[in-house]
Amino acid sequence: MTHISLYPLWGIDIVGSLAMLFLSSLCLRQVLILYKRDREDALNTYLMWLIIALFVFCIFRSLGHLVKHLLVFSDHSDIWARIAPLSGGLNTVTFVVIFAVTLFFRNVLIFMNRMTSDRVRIETTSRQLLSLNQDIESVVSDRTRAEMALNLAHEIRNPVMIIGGLLRRMYRTASDESEQGQKYQQEIKHQIDQLESLVAGLEDIQSVSQDHFKTVELNELLRDAVEMVQPEAESKGIEMSYQPSTTKLPLKGNQQYLKVALLHLLRNGIEACSVGNYIKITTELSRQGPLVLIRDDGPGIPKQVLKHIFEPFYSTRDGATGLGLPYVRQIIKEHRGEIRITNNKEKGITVELRIPSHLNELQEK
């Protein structure tokens, strides 16, 4: 018959219990450092609760084992017999607590995933907003420059022309003038010529802005615009879908202007529609060039309003400037395009946007 000493077993148990006590304390310390670093992080908070539960389990278990050995070695097994059920019971409670805490891990992960995706979405929207702001700034700056130049040119054109004409006549008729007088007249004529060319230059600023026209891919541009307003539509319970044409739709245009125009049209649609409505955006290549269709099943536009919809300062909404759609039409006109808004037979409206590609002109340039 083989005998085996229980001392190695007890040794392992005592050393193991002490090691568990030590290690669980270190775990608690680490998790508290982690928690204090960011108290609002759900995962850190969850980890703290789990590690506290594991720490309590280790304390009860290890202390139970150590007390048992202590009492048995000191010949107080009877005391251990009384304590043992309590120690075991506490151990069991910690098991159940760990189980309960772990049940929440799934919820914490869902919560964290949601937070992560929301953060990504907010960052993307913020980036897009920043880019749009820059676009709008650039548009406003171009417009202001052009307008100022045109105003200036308009104001000084007539007097300069008159002075120029009179001086030329004087120069031709006054042959008996002294040499000094002729020299002055020549100098004045030279300065007037310069002023006239400056006026012509100011008038050209408007056409110079056409140089900002570059190749733009309409499908891509529209996708960006749809992505920007999609969260707005979702929050209002509007179903927004975008179906681009199978072929690419390159055109010569100003990306910023077109984007602002498209965003304005989409936002108008969202404002008009309500929960359960849809906005369908499609693009195709028609004979006249790229075509954008924005359809919705909203309340539509009354006939008497539809007639004036592109008139500046005409608005049926409180607080609206009434400059939105005229501005959109202006942008489309500058691209030699066309915009039409019609009521659908059943419900809602359709916005039809035709923009010629002008690609040949760009290649010629």
Binding site: H3, S5, I33, L34, A42, T92, T116
Partner: protein
């Protein structure tokens, strides 16, 4: 002088009250049939403890599995955490078997040594050998806790943005 009379509706309520509540009252006062309290015999503690081990094991396996399936698995710290959880789950299985073996082993297999303590195990059957082996459960639960500690240490060593959270899963 007028005699006191009990109104009929009040009488009716009293009859209904006693008809329904008297049997329950009787059951409650007869001591031999006190069904209200269930007694808890000795083995129940062990059963509850074993159920606790099963729950602990399920919890740890579930925890590890969720880590593996989530984006957290991209971080080494969380992979270490999942290894710790798996080891804890295995330890629960180990302890579960250990408790069964402790129940099966004969008290007579323990004999007193020269120190007067029951420090010798007589290996009469495979159960005695298995009991001895399964008593060394620290070889599982210590590494389990060690992996969890290493995971936490790694998390605290990382920058705040990528420690516990998924802000930077790469």
């Amino acid at each position: 002088m007028t005699a006191k009379t009990i109104h009929l509706p009040a009488m009716k309520h009293l009859v209904i009250f006693f008809t329904f509540w008297s049997p329950l009252f009787l059951v409650a006062v007869i001591p031999t049939s006190a069904f209200a309290l269930q007694t808890h015999a000795a083995p129940e503690g062990l059963y509850v403890h074993q159920i606790g081990h099963v729950l602990f094991a399920i919890a740890m396996f579930g925890f590890a599995l969720r880590i593996r399936r989530s984006r957290l698995n991209k971080q080494k710290s969380w992979r270490l955490m999942s290894v710790g959880a798996i080891l804890f789950a295995l330890w629960n299985g180990w302890a579960f078997i250990g408790h069964i073996l402790a129940m099966l082993i004969s008290k007579g297999d323990f004999s007193r040594g020269s120190d007067g303590l029951k420090s010798i195990l007589v290996l009469n059957s495979p159960i005695d050998v298995l009991y001895y082996l399964f008593k060394m459960d620290h070889f599982l639960c210590f590494p389990a806790l060690l992996f969890i500690y290493l995971a936490l240490k790694r998390m605290t060593a990382q920058p705040a943005d990528s420690a516990g959270s998924e802000k930077n899963p790469q």
